[in-house]
């Protein structure tokens, strides 16, 4: 797998934007800003999925994450908003920020040095050996072609993964009931007793 031409440029742009938005999510002062940056990061990840020819997952990502989960997040932020964090004296971070940052940098650098020898192995030694399916032009799975991904995922979900699919629907039902039970107030509890 190797992206060429504009796809390569697009990968770097999207990767950079995703990482920057992730850092903004973690460092933003207000939770609402954090949620908006997270929406931007999730849309970038969905575009990366399209770059990887997984259109169905990209659509699910937009619909479920951006349309469902993030709206839930924004609602809860507005329910719970104390507006205390707008003042500069309020602490944003716990005491373990510097250990976390140092650990994260150490992990990132060590992962880079562990993976960079492997990088050449994934690359054909001379550029003419690149497979046609990988070229991205005038081939059945190149850019500009709607891939078979949606059909394949649907078939796999209803054939090989039918039981986990049903269990997932049950899990969603349980989570729905649990969230309603957890979030109701004492007034509503008295109302139903």
């Amino acid at each position: 797998m190797q992206l060429h031409g504009w796809e390569a440029v697009l990968f770097y742009v999207l990767a950079f934007m995703t990482l920057i938005m992730g850092v903004f999510v973690v460092t933003a002062r207000l939770a609402v800003h954090s949620a908006l940056f997270l929406i931007a990061a999730l849309v970038n990840v969905a575009l990366l999925f399209i770059l990887l020819r997984a259109e169905f997952v990209a659509g699910v990502q937009i619909l479920v994450y951006v349309g469902g989960v993030m709206v839930l997040f924004l609602f809860v932020i507005m329910l719970v908003q104390t507006r205390a964090e707008e003042e500069a004296r309020v602490k944003l971070y716990t005491g373990q920020t510097w250990p976390a940052v140092v650990l994260a940098l150490f992990l990132a650098v060590s992962f880079y040095f562990a993976m960079s020898p492997a990088q050449q192995a994934f690359r054909p030694a001379d550029a003419s050996q690149v497979q046609t399916a990988d070229k991205g032009e005038a081939s059945a799975s190149g850019s500009g072609f709607i891939s078979q991904d949606t059909q394949n995922v649907g078939e796999a979900l209803y054939r090989q993964a039918a039981l986990p699919f049903e269990i997932a629907s049950l899990l969603l039902l349980v989570a729905l009931v649990g969230a309603v039970l957890l979030a109701r107030g004492s007034k509503q509890e008295k109302l139903y007793e």
Partner: protein, 159 residues
């Protein structure tokens, strides 16, 4: 006042370093291009490893957020970042298997199933949605009882 000035100078130093790095990278690129290296751009075209690096960096950002923030809602958002990093990894591996299916099946025998990547990703998204719903329900009921969303003030179970 002094704090603001020092922060500004810190920003200036960081932007100076970044712009120097960009200029150095551009100069190196120009030098290699003028030297006429045919495989020069090939080296920068993203492969599976680049997707894994992106995924790992996103994961690390999420872990740093979980460990360092006080607001429990932002901790939940960092968990979503972590789950997305895993999804990128799964989809990239699935794409890699899809492209190299013939080669890998010649080497390892049949049983390569590239579609399991997106299927697992969909299940991860479902579980993430359920987790967010239940977690935010807990946050609401906790805020109702304790009037706070800061994780270091929620220490009832600490001895």
């Amino acid at each position: 006042m002094t704090r603001k000035e020092s922060r500004l100078s810190f920003r200036r130093i960081v932007s100076l370093i970044i712009s120097l790095a960009v200029i150095a990278a551009a100069a190196a690129t120009l030098r290699r291009l003028l030297a006429g290296d045919p495989l020069f751009f090939n080296r920068f075209e993203p492969t599976l490893v680049n997707f894994m690096m992106l995924s790992f960096l996103l994961f690390v950002v999420g872990v740093a957020g979980v460990l360092s923030r006080r607001n429990i809602i932002i901790i939940f958002m960092s968990i979503e970042l972590i789950l997305n990093a895993v999804n990128i990894n799964l989809i990239a591996f699935s794409r890699y298997l899809q492209i190299n299916q013939a080669t890998l099946e010649a080497k390892l025998g049949s049983g390569i199933n590239p579609i399991s990547g997106p299927v697992f990703t969909i299940f991860i998204i479902v579980v993430a949605a359920a987790e967010a719903a239940v977690g935010l329900g807990i946050v609401i009921s906790m805020f109702r009882n304790r009037e706070t969303v800061a994780v270091d003030e929620i220490d009832l179970l600490k001895w």
